[in-house]
Symmetry: C2
Subunit: 311 residues, 2 copies
């Protein structure tokens, strides 16, 4: 029995919000449908932010409603505040992720809120979600962004990350996720932070990481996350995207390379690699000017892959 790993595709959100080209709504729907049919079980389809700030995300409500019609797909979205969370609930999102920057300077620059103000906002969001009928309640996750370091503050103390994680769990969110927003993290940080959060918040409160490949360390960090027992990894088809508010941060982990790595090791991602490669073509057609990244698409699959001995 192979161990299952959930790959959460963040390209339609993290990828598309980081590039200038606006992908037409119909192309987003085709992308989401194709990747769902390739076996992807969770897709972050958009961000509920003002269209004046991120015009690429202006159609998120419509895209979310469409994605929610795909039976069996976990529809994830990002929302930075109560306003966004309400809109996300209305559109039928299954999972809402609220980014909470562990660097207060980054938080103020990014969403103009101090840690205290963010905790109050998160409290209001929890209140809203808990006011809904049980069957209508999405999962609420706090993305602990800049958890591994910040382009403004530099090192972010681990004790601060753990303490803020505890606070949001106490407020009543379902989960926290570790986010390497600025692409500075290393495998030992992942291990240290994860164990500390598991100890202080409970083992079930942290299951996923959002990693970047800014310094080529993305898949090494992903490996450590899996080795210590994480079950969800974010990645972006073709590696497009990054953090628009963190100068220097570039690409996400490439979904194609991550699937190749995990399936080679004998994990079950549920994803059909050939179908996944075909999604790439579709995205490139919709974004002809944008570079796509990834090694496995260039090199192709090895002869006779997948091998039997690691299964």
């Amino acid at each position: 029995m192979k161990k299952s790993i959930l790959i959460s595709e963040v390209g339609p959100r993290d990828g598309l919000q980081s590039i200038k080209t606006i992908m037409p709504t119909e192309a987003k729907k085709r992308w989401i449908k194709a990747q769902f049919e390739a076996g992807c079980r969770e897709i972050e389809v958009g961000s509920f932010v003002p269209a004046t700030l991120l015009p690429q995300m202006a159609d998120t409500a419509e895209v979310t409603r469409y994605a929610a019609s795909l039976d069996g797909l976990e529809v994830a979205v990002l929302a930075p505040n109560l306003h966004g969370v309400k809109a996300a609930c209305e559109a039928g999102a299954d999972k809402i992720s609220i980014p909470f920057s562990m660097s207060e300077s980054h938080s103020i620059k990014n969403v103009r809120k101090t840690h205290e103000q963010m905790l109050e906002e998160i409290s209001r969001c929890v209140g809203h979600v808990q006011s809904l009928e049980q069957s209508q309640r999405p999962t609420l996750e706090i993305g602990l962004s800049t958890a591994f370091g910040c382009t403004i503050e530099g090192e972010v103390p681990q004790a601060r990350v753990v303490s803020l994680a505890e606070k949001v769990v106490d407020i009543g969110v379902d989960e926290v996720g570790l986010s390497d927003t600025t692409g500075v993290g290393n495998p030992n940080q992942i291990k240290q932070l994860a164990y500390a959060i598991w100890t202080h918040c409970g083992r079930d409160k942290l299951n996923g990481v959002h990693l970047h490949n800014t310094r080529g360390q993305g898949l090494a960090n992903a490996l450590m996350a899996i080795e210590i027992g994480m079950t969800t990894l974010d990645s972006s088809l073709g590696g497009i995207g990054g953090c628009p508010f963190a100068p220097g941060a570039s690409v996400n982990i490439v979904t194609e390379d991550l699937v190749f790595l995990l399936e080679s090791m004998g994990y079950d991602t549920g994803i059909d690699v050939d179908k996944l490669m075909a999604v790439r073509t579709l995205v490139q057609e919709a974004l002809p000017e944008e570079p796509l990244y990834g090694y496995t698409p260039d090199a192709g699959l090895p002869k006779g892959w997948p091998y039997q001995e690691c299964a």
Copy 2:
């Protein structure tokens, strides 16, 4: 006390033999000297093969003699046969690596020798090295190439790799190394093969891996190697090079990214990252037409790096 990891720079051999441009001898010497001064303690400086086959390596004897004059540098070279081993010993190499392809088809295509013929050749090489004065004897390592899979044969059975490793250890070589010649390996294969070889050949007989980044998995594989106790990792400055006889195989692990990963985790590579980056400029000047790879050089080092908490 930080744990020390030896990064063996293979750019002057694996990198340069895989590109068409011939680097002038003086530029090779400058590269080796600069990288030694950046803290690199082992460099594979060339390959003792006929200049008609690899004109890029025609000056290996001279380069080896020069490198041997740098006090404290472990001078590694590659030699495919007795002829090369003799020349390497004469030039003053400290470590000679003989590539032995675990895929017999690849071996025949690469060096026109069956496994049986390679074992005989290795036996002659061991005989030659053992005939030298103790103080003149280089370390003899067998690089178990295509150990993780082959572009011709596909999957390579792990039992075969272990059995051939045992045979060369019985013949009397000092060490074996695992080599992902074709860039198909995954972390679980590294773990499985390493434990099997340690069990059958002795823990001290395998300490290093030669990994490629063909499918983006290079640093994940490097992480697993370090986690299970390997102490030597091969990498190439700027990621130049690959295997000229394995179609589809592209780049080596990038030294700059590997050093960033390991130093971030709190390992001691002995390498000064800023000085290493400067070597890159020098290599690019000598090879203006060749692309150099690497994420860390583009992104730069994180603010306040290295952090204290992972040290």
